[in-house]
């Protein structure tokens, strides 16, 4: 056995024993937390998979790029592939930036609300190493002023007519815009009540009011920006490519199944042998038991259908699953311990 084979077998065994123990051991054994690092190890595997995806992208570009450059056979398909790849990456990145921008704006407002509450709690707890409460309240007021100015500017620049005048989304957006305006006014009123004079103790009610007003503003601003983004050009292009093309093509393939089932059923149920006759009788009983026409013929048909599905059919299903499960377990054991058949265990193979 060469070094490479030994290494592969060792890594396989260690990998197998790790996941086996992770599966069978309790989280803590004799006071030792054996599951402490499992999440980090799992994240490591995800990272490796992500790097493999990056490697795949480079490989794809090299393979198909060279085919296009040297005009090799079927280069036009490579061009279609790379164009599709580039367009989809660009659109997805744009979509990611768009949704990320909305999330960042809302997170910024929420952070300000958390800060308003933190000022009071730090003061009450006597937390050391932080600025005095009045100074922090002044900073909060300035940050809130900047935020409200930005929100008012952006609200004024919004073109809600893009959403279609009189449409449901247009009406909803106008409502969210009004909510945001009210929210901004509430925040402005609440920050005016903050205790900002040096030496003055913060008023918990005033800070709580600021936090509450900011959270309300965050909610209406998120609704407005999300709705507006749903009607943006990047989102339209993304939906066209993903839902209009990719998902639609998948559905078209899936719909073929209906025709194929009919063709396959015709072949399977042709009465040629005792087995196919039995299958056909069972199928007819199940189908009739499923529809009102069957009940009209005989009210006991649904019970027959249920019996066929729950007794003989379930027994066969369980037998197949059981047999395959045991065989799979044995195969997994062989993989774990590298008990290889000669076909896969040749030196240098």
């Amino acid at each position: 056995m060469n070094f490479r084979s030994r290494l592969i077998k060792l890594v396989t065994f260690l990998g197998g024993i790790y996941f086996f123990l992770e599966f069978v051991l309790p989280g803590t054994v004799f006071g030792v937390k054996v599951d402490a690092y499992h999440d980090q190890i799992s994240n490591g595997f995800i990272t490796v998979a992500a790097m493999a995806a990056g490697l795949g992208l480079i490989n794809l570009l090299m393979q198909h790029g060279s085919r296009i450059v040297f005009r090799r056979r079927d280069w036009i398909y490579s061009l279609a592939l790379l164009t599709g790849l580039a367009v989809m990456i660009a659109v997805t990145l744009q979509d990611w930036r768009g949704t990320g921008r909305v999330a960042d704006e809302v997170a910024g407002i929420s952070r300000l609300a958390d800060f308003a509450e933190r000022i009071t709690s730090d003061h009450e707890d006597g937390t050391e190493g932080v600025l005095p409460a009045a100074a922090r309240n002044r900073a909060l007021r300035e940050a809130a002023d900047r935020l409200l100015t930005r929100i008012e500017d952006e609200s004024g620049a919004l073109d809600l007519d893009r959403l279609g005048r009189g449409s449901i989304d247009h009406t909803l957006a106008r409502g969210y815009l009004a909510d945001a305006g009210n929210g901004a006014a509430a925040v402005r009123a609440a920050v005016a009540e903050l205790a900002v004079t040096d030496g003055e103790a913060p008023d918990p009610a005033a800070n709580a009011a600021v936090a509450g007003a900011l959270r309300g503003l965050a909610e209406s601003w998120r609704n407005l920006r999300n709705l507006e983004y749903e009607h943006s050009t990047p989102k339209h292009v993304y939906r066209l490519l993903f839902e209009g093309l990719f998902v639609a093509l998948g559905s078209a393939m899936f719909s073929l199944l209906g025709f194929y089932i009919a063709a396959a059923a015709y072949r399977a149920f042709r009465v040629r042998s005792a087995e196919s006759s039995l299958m056909m009788i069972a199928a007819v009983l199940v189908m009739l038991g499923q529809i009102p026409f069957g009940v009209w013929i005989w009210s006991g048909l649904p019970d027959v259908r249920l019996w066929l599905l729950e007794v003989p059919n379930s027994a066969a299903f369980r037998a197949i699953t059981f047999g395959a499960g045991v065989a799979g377990l044995v195969m997994a054991f062989r993989m774990w311990f590298s008990i290889e058949s000669e076909s896969f265990d040749r030196e240098g193979g």
């Binding site: 992770e22 599966f23 069978v24 051991l25 309790p26 989280g27 803590t28 054994v29 004799f30 599951d35 499992h38 493999a52 795949g56 093509l249 998948g250 393939m253 899936f254 073929l256 199944l257 194929y260 089932i261 063709a263 396959a264 059923a265 072949r267 399977a268 066969a316 299903f317 037998a319 197949i320 699953t321 059981f322 047999g323 395959a324 045991v326 065989a327 799979g328 377990l329 044995v330 195969m331 997994a332 054991f333 062989r334 993989m335 008990i339 290889e340 058949s341 000669e342 076909s343 896969f344 040749r346 193979g349």
Partner: protein
């Protein structure tokens, strides 16, 4: 954390009782070469399909569907190795439409080995291993195109399949390919029975490789797992018997087998 404490002592004992016969029969198979495996018509048909493809001068295809790296794939690779050797012997093209990148790399290696074992390494063409798509129905569309364009004479559908199984099998049916289907999923077995010439049901997929190669390790595994199943069957009968006795004569107070299965270790949380 979810996933811990899934094995009670009873489960580990049962696992040992399942693995023990496998190790024992692998040893037996290494000494004796006359272990009997019943005839599997679907596996015998592999030779027929390979020969037919050579006569017609048309290619073969071997598809593992949406199988990921798993014991099922390992079972399929044994059959792929055999089909690869047959294709190399008859100088037939063997197409390998692929759905998963990891599986593609492994399948390519196995096929290369099969050609090497027949002394036909030069005949091995990696371009016959085609990556179609990871997306289920895009893969099915690619498979239909490949089978129709190449007019394959024999199609082998081994592995894990989902809703695309009938689409794949019908594609082969339409070009008159001789098809052998094998799946561990009971739902898809019904489709294969309707659309393929031969179907391997459930564990027969795992037995196919042992049947074809008659290698001691694979034969021993097959024998061992059959004995393990017999043991589990007896456990089911005993469990049903005890539960029935308990329901008819509750005063007997027999311990149900599932109670034994749930007995814990007595430590940890």
């Amino acid at each position: 954390m979810a996933g811990f404490e899934n094995a009670t002592p009873a489960v580990l004992v049962i696992m040992a009782l399942m693995i023990g016969p496998v190790l024992f029969y692998i040893r037996v198979a290494r000494r004796r070469h006359d272990l009997y495996v019943r005839r599997l018509a679907g596996v015998d048909a592999i030779d027929e399909a390979a020969g037919r493809a050579a006569e017609l001068g048309r290619p073969l295809s071997f598809c593992t569907g949406i199988t990921n790296v798993s014991p099922v794939l390992y079972a399929c690779l044994g059959v792929l190795y055999y089909v690869g050797r047959k294709a190399a012997q008859y100088r037939s093209r063997l197409l390998l439409p692929q759905n998963t990148p990891e599986v593609m790399a492994i399948a390519e290696d196995v096929l290369r080995d099969a050609y090497r074992a027949e002394g036909r390494s030069a005949q091995f063409d990696p371009r016959n291993i085609v990556f179609l798509s990871e997306e289920q129905f895009a893969f099915a569309a690619g498979y239909i195109g490949l089978v129709q364009r190449e007019r394959v004479a024999g199609a082998f559908l081994f592995g894990h399949f989902a809703a695309e199984s009938l689409i794949l099998a019908e594609a082969g049916q339409q070009v008159g390919a001789m098809q052998v289907g094998a799946s561990v999923s009971p739902e898809q077995v019904a489709f294969f029975i309707a659309a393929c010439d031969y179907t391997l049901i459930g564990e027969e997929l795992f037995a196919a490789s042992a049947y074809l190669t008659r290698e001691p390790i694979q034969l021993g595994s097959l024998y061992g797992q059959d004995r393990a199943k017999l043991f589990l069957f007896l456990m089911i009968v005993a469990g049903v018997g005890i539960a029935t006795l308990n329901s008819v004569w509750p005063d007997l107070g027999l311990t149900n087998l599932d109670t034994l299965m749930h007995l814990g270790w007595g430590f940890g949380s």
